[in-house]
Amino acid sequence: MSEFDVIVVGAGPAGASAAIKLATSGSSVLLVERGDPPGSKNVSGGVLWGDSLGSVAPDWEKAAPMERYVEAKGVSFLTKDSKISIDFRSKKLQERRSGYTVLRTKLDGWLSKKAKDAGAMVASGITVDKLAFKDNRVIGVEQDGDIITSDIVILAEGANPRVAINSGIRERLKDRDVAIGVKEIIKLPEKTINERFNLTSSKMGFASEYVLGFLEGGVKAGGFIYTNKESISLGLVISMKEMRQNNNTRSFDLIEQFKEHPYIAPLIEGGRVDEYSAHMVQEGGLKSVPQLYGNGFMVAGDGAGFSFSNGMVLQGMNYAIASGIAAAESAIKAKIKSNFTREGLSSYEERLKSSFVLQDLMNFKGIEEVTWSDMIHRGIPNMSEELFLSLFSENGQPKAHLINLLIGAMGHSDVPRKDMVINMYRMLRRM
């Protein structure tokens, strides 16, 4: 007889959502979190997209500590002197659903409390060392030599999956699997944020991704700016592969170059940096997804490699929540059948395959090759800069047709014209 039906390792969005779902349906759950309080070790860029939380916390939009609703979504290419942007704003984003900017210590603290209120036991400040095995199946978790038993363990330990690695159920992460994310929280008055980002109220938020085509040494990285109520989340993501290839850039220095760009600096001027954080970002797509379930265990969230980025949006928490809930549902089903073997938990993969979690990863296979391509980081920014300079400047010379300007601009892209055309086609297909 196990002490718990399910032990959930990690109280981030994946683990807490799983715990809420399980406890609500009457399972006995232990949610173990190494941070104390829950949330204090958790970092993300900062936008929770979609409505994944709805099925475990129907009141989340009103009750959860959200910052601002994303009504303005941007995508920008930055060159040394220019910024080429889409600044999409629509009242329709509310009904179609976008996302909320969030701060994880607040959000995850709230989710853990929700799990506790639903009947889960929440143990924070406790570090699980590894899974406990007996007869080739997981029987619980091991902590400082003690074993706590459960029928099922859901591993939701985040981007740095030590328990899974220590337990031998996955390999160590490789360069291709991850990017390094660094971020600052920059404090600014609510009113200043509204003015600078053209937001009509403090509920309305701005979220934008940036292709940083101007970094020293031609290093490729992506930036982001998200507005919170009284602060800005500003950060940068650089793939491990790219870092290694440019072994003269320091991950912590790059963010300064982003902040000093002529069209970024005015947005944060006078702001006070109140926190610096770093976190690995799952970047490997489908080929980085590890074994997702086995005898007595399932893996959810970042630890399972679930995230999505196509250069225009960066998502992770919605995948974490949806996979956590799918794991909980599969655990509930396994309990009814009293079958906690790999076969008994196989509905987990079916659930993921029929939802956006695995479908997105399958449909966008290879997207990471596009997002880190020369085309995105040099070709398009340089070409667009030249095109718009030609279009929007006036030098008294006869004007050229757009197509000729475009062909001319391609010559400024640092990428051969032929490659540009082929890659553009590939890019549009893969995106």
Partner: protein
């Protein structure tokens, strides 16, 4: 803003009796790249007089160094007992 100033904004509950990451100095001594000094976002790894210096106290527990070190020097473990970095916002 210097990385040292950024790190000084963070709260840590330092575990004085347990170093959650250890390195193998003999491997680092012959390392050709010292990629850890570039990759680690908290500057825990630095070269002082061509010798690798590592301090676990500033670690933000992201796990980057474990991926970055391709020479097998880094032994990475989670902090215990709620020790380590404590974010205000996250």
């Amino acid at each position: 803003m210097k990385i040292e100033d950024r790190l000084s904004l963070l709260n840590y509950k330092t575990d004085k009796s347990y170093e959650h990451i250890t390195i193998n100095p003999s491997i680092c001594e012959t390392c050709p790249d010292h990629f850890c000094t570039f990759a680690c976002p908290a500057k825990c790894y630095s070269l002082i007089e061509e010798k690798l210096n590592f301090k676990y106290e500033d670690c933000v527990e992201c796990g980057t160094c474990d991926v970055a070190c391709s020479h097998g020097s880094v032994a990475w473990n989670n902090t215990k007992g709620g020790h380590g970095v404590k974010y205000k916002y996250g």
